[in-house]
Symmetry: C2
Subunit: 253 residues, 2 copies
């Protein structure tokens, strides 16, 4: 098994795409926590993996070690997933939670940077690129689509004002940056949008850097998974989980 842990580049996917290609061609299973290659080239990488009879583990690319991808792929396998929506970026959720508590956007961002949630250049998080990458990953891994980042109707949280937050609060609602993909007939709609949710909506109570995803299925209705969305140990757990899953597939009981 080759474990690919280079830094995410959502523009080129490199050097990870080259690493994964080479590993798969050599008949090695791969595990990665890098969103770049999975968001940009999954259909191609998956075909290469199947041709070489090996596996791709990418659990760490969405919700870190919280087993969102494998739960959907393995445990919801007999249900048809029609819609996926969730809070898949902890940095923006932390900022929105702080703003609801009274902070300005600038103060909340600075606080998120001080806590290590947001990077010095926060664009990838606050403009929704990170969430859009995860939406593409979920659409392609869990719903058999072949989306690209350009297919995601994306808007970040930078335009939200304290007045917007207060207006939602007064109406018993709460702003969340919601990543969403839905199959409607033969169409697939994918978006990342600041969304006002009723306070009792299951995703509305998810605060701080926690992530949550709701899978809407035909047979089970809505199944929601809530857990950590980032962190060194948590992302490391994703790698162990993928290794165990690959091992299980090689073992006959």
């Amino acid at each position: 098994v080759i474990i690919e842990l280079s830094y995410t580049d959502l523009k080129t996917g490199e050097p990870a795409i080259t690493h994964l290609h080479r590993a798969l061609e050599l008949g090695k299973h791969v595990v990665t926590t890098n969103k770049g290659p999975i968001a940009l080239k999954y259909p191609e990488l998956k075909a290469l993996a199947e041709k070489n009879n090996v596996e791709i583990g990418a659990e760490g690319t969405v919700m870190s070690g919280t087993p969102s991808l494998r739960m959907a792929q393995e445990l919801l396998a007999a249900a048809h997933i029609r819609k996926i929506q969730g809070i898949v970026n902890g940095t923006t959720n932390y900022i929105l939670t702080q703003m609801e508590a009274g902070a300005t956007y600038a103060d909340a961002l600075q606080d998120a940077q001080a806590k290590g949630y947001a990077e010095a250049d926060p664009t990838g998080d606050v403009e929704g690129f990170d969430a859009a990458g995860k939406v593409v990953i979920m659409a392609n891994l869990l719903m058999g689509q072949a989306l690209t980042l350009a297919n995601v109707d994306r808007k970040g949280i930078t335009a939200l004002t304290p007045a917007d937050i207060a207006a939602a609060k007064a109406a018993g609602e709460r702003w969340k940056l919601i990543g969403r993909v839905e199959i409607i007939g033969n169409e697939v709609a994918a978006s990342v949008q600041p969304t006002r949710l009723p306070i009792h909506h299951p995703l509305a109570s998810v605060g701080g850097a926690t992530n949550a995803i709701t899978f809407s299925t035909d047979l089970l209705g809505d199944v929601t998974l809530v857990g950590p969305g980032a962190g060194r140990v948590e992302t490391g757990y994703a790698i162990v989980g993928d290794l165990l899953a690959i091992h299980r597939k090689q073992q006959k009981s």
Copy 2:
């Protein structure tokens, strides 16, 4: 595979225990949605299954088809689960939700019976026996314990008054019937108790007949699964999920 679907009897576990014993002795995998044999005899049945190199699927005994047991067993396998707590009985959660909206206990129970959530004799639900059975199942399947129903410190919701509900509401809290098992040192504590939760607690926002379980782990912190806890189609899904899981274990990729 023998699929055992007889009616739950938490006192004797029969006739399901006899059915499962016989099937396992004959070297058949078994799948069941019947809480009786799993709550009362799991350690013994598991030993018999291992001796005969076959599997026991019991996903439908907790949260119906929502894959709570397999998520914990397979996808959280590399994390140590230290505590499990949740809302595992939909009938009582529906009654509490109705009482918070202003209904009396008697009216809410009648409503639950009219909707088919509660049985004519509601004792098993409202006195916490059903939830206690699920706590034992989770302790024994997911935490390697060998608890019995007598080990669960159990209290139902029948003593809760509208005044109790109102007092919690005034304090920004909400009553939930919480099933819980926790390992503390060499001790294991198991309970089913009406519990006041802060309104922002992840389990507090779970309303109506929905169920939710929070797994507290060493490496991932808290992972919460929310989904249906009952229903014909949903429980049927648990059987299909168990059959697929048994199939996967027999297949080498």
